[in-house]
Symmetry: C2
Subunit: 425 residues, 2 copies
């Protein structure tokens, strides 16, 4: 009898009806002969409402107290879910992150899991109960304070528990049927991918595909825990995220070069115009940005114009961090001596991702040609071993996704009816 860890996002338990539906699905899994551990996020908009409440009393809520506040969200959903399961005649017990043994560092709001000691969970499932665990939260090893894991925390809780419990699989439920070759909202021919490697999933997620969070996939890859991404609204098989060898084996007959197209509309672009092309200038610029805790993505430095010895440096970053970065950079203007700063938040990023790319020459060329034929202008380019990304005008994101999707024959012949949304936290 194997252990199955299931994670349900906030959209799956948005209201009492959702909680009951999820409870029935959990009971079905239990009846099928599995030991079941469930990780649950806060119901629907609870987290946002709690953040609003915090902002009503404090413009800058202290992180320790914000964690204490936000963890109330999962406490509610897990208790209610346990009640709904018991109402179906099955024993269920809820556990906070701390009770479940999710030990973290003390970095409030973005704590890292240090250890998982799920003794109480093992005892509960050993006695035949279904264990419900609050996602997103843990307890600091040093301060004993309640911590949260930050964005994607519940997915990470689920994978970490699955690893600690030696589960057969970690099932991540949301309102999406699985991982698609592109966002079905803008690419109607998008197809569900049956299997995908950890590495491709990481690239897709990093490039804006709203599927799984990076941290949880990284954790699963490190410990080789299979993730099954599926919808809580249907019984269909979803997408299995597994190690590359297992994908290759399965797909040997039809080796897809490109697995999917990801896009990201949350980026902005900053260009520093007229930077003296001297050693150390770029370093001091990026040191300032790093000190401001800004997460850079792509960086492009133009070849300097020989006549002036000045160069332009462009980089992309999350839009929410644009103002902080511009402030940090403008302080450097005098010392570095650049001409000006340009800020553009009407950009988007489109990426093709595929493990087969490294062994297939000409992928970038085919991608760029397709974009060109679709009239899409490329502003920046970056690549990795299994990914090619371009920055384009935000208005051209959709056209770029469609062009790439068609160029690599990713589409299905029939258009699948899918529901697509965020994965909660």
């Amino acid at each position: 009898m194997g252990i199955v860890v299931q994670k349900y996002g906030g959209s799956s338990v948005a209201d009492a009806a959702g909680v009951k539906r999820v409870a029935q699905r959990i009971v079905n899994t239990k009846k099928a002969g599995h030991q079941v551990v469930v990780v649950v996020s806060a119901m629907g908009d609870t987290t946002d409402e709690l953040i609003d409440l915090a902002n009503e009393v404090s413009p800058l809520p202290p992180a320790r107290e914000l964690d204490m506040l936000l963890t109330a969200g999962e406490r509610i959903s897990m208790a209610v879910l346990a009640m709904a399961i018991q109402n179906l005649g099955h024993e269920a017990r809820s556990f906070t992150g701390s009770q479940a043994g999710v030990i973290t560092d003390a970095a409030h709001g973005k704590a890292k899991i240090i250890d998982v000691t799920p003794g109480r969970i093992e005892a509960a499932i050993g006695e035949g109960a279904i264990a419900i665990v609050a996602g997103f939260q843990g307890v600091s090893q040093t301060t004993k304070d309640i911590t949260t894991l930050g964005r994607g925390g519940s997915d990470t809780t689920a994978v970490a528990l699955a690893v600690a419990l030696k589960a057969d699989v970690c099932e991540i439920y949301s309102d999406v049927d699985g991982i698609f070759t592109a966002d079905p909202r803008i690419e109607p021919r998008a197809r569900k991918v049956p299997r995908i490697s950890y590495e491709e999933t990481l690239e897709m997620a990093a490039q804006g595909a709203k599927i799984l969070h990076l941290r949880c996939v990284e954790y699963a890859r490190r410990y080789d825990m299979p993730i099954h991404v599926r919808s809580s609204f249907s019984e269909k098989e979803g997408t299995w995220v597994v190690k590359a060898e297992d994908v290759a084996q399965e797909n040997s007959m039809e080796a897809a070069i490109i697995t999917g197209v990801a896009h990201d509309r949350s980026q902005a672009k900053i260009t520093i115009v007229g930077v003296p092309d001297k050693p150390g200038e770029a370093a001091s610029i990026f040191r300032a940005v790093a000190d401001a805790q800004i997460n850079l993505d792509m960086i492009v430095q133009n070849v300097s114009a020989a006549a002036t010895s000045l160069t332009d440096i462009s980089f992309t970053l999350p839009r929410g961090e644009g103002q902080t970065a511009m402030t940090a950079l403008s302080r450097l203007q005098e010392s570095v001596g650049f001409d000006s700063l340009q800020y553009d938040d009407s950009v988007g990023k489109v990426s093709i991702v595929g493990a087969g790319m490294s062994s297939s020459p000409g992928i970038s060329a085919r991608f760029f040609e397709a974009l060109s034929e679709a009239g899409v202008n490329i502003e920046m380019i970056s690549t990795s071993e299994i990914r090619v990304s371009v920055v384009v005008a935000e208005t051209q994101v959709e056209a770029a996704v469609n062009a790439a999707h068609a160029a690599f024959d990713l589409g299905s012949d029939e258009i699948e009816a899918v529901v697509y949304g965020g994965t909660g936290r």
Copy 2:
């Protein structure tokens, strides 16, 4: 520098504005040179909303999970309150019942405090921080599960912490200015009592005065912890609940015989008609009621009619338990052989309470005369050393309170403007 424990009820922190107001008051106490520990209830209607949510998924939510759910309420209020205090420039840290060392038995929903080990609270206030503690909750010594203390739990948490911390005083804040000689909503001449003994407070509370909860007063009496009952909406002195000697000393000049009039509209009356007047019959009846977990209050057995050897037994109980009691009793009809059951939920109880009563003969007579003159019919009577209670028709409760208040000269000459409400939990 003494320690002050303050407890704020749900009505004091009903919204962000309330939280900020309370935060300012706490900071003022801190600035006045005290070490401050604050116990807080859930905001406004949070608890009721959580109970509604539980009932949406389960008609009979399991007690362990209900506790897990309800404790989310205080988690929210305490974190938000800590944020509001920090926003005023003072260090504040929130602690769950478990973190604050509130150790209980495992009786979910009505746990009893076994021990208080407030090491983290002492450390926090020792470092100059204000400690905010979730009221109403603790952690089971045996199961390590989260428990709640039941009705009045937050008041009890406050007093228990005050005792464990050897605080100078436990201040209980609500939207009422203190303890009054009667409910000002029905007795406009009601006067705030400056000092009252634990024993009188217990009788007032037991007889329906919505001031402090029995448990917290019992706890305070046992350890002689002074309670200061006051309003979070004003700076006025409230009512000090202290030991009888201290009240007597203070009041030596004007020794009040009656301290106040309490009333209770939440009771119902059951009459068992035609019970065979044989040994053991009453016992089996009350065993059945006790087995159904019904809390009886007054019990009156009529003198049996000689001709029939049948007697009537009446008792009062909380209205909410009426149906359960009637069901339990009707099952006994055949074995005990009584004639019928009568249920009356349009009764009320009016009580006079005063420590001076025991040394002043004629108090009951004066009370009954006053009721008679006001045209109030007495249905049942019960007394204790410092209390006389009567059951009357619910429609006559107000008249009875007014008559008693006047008969014992409890009123002030001027009518105080007061806000009166419940104390939350």
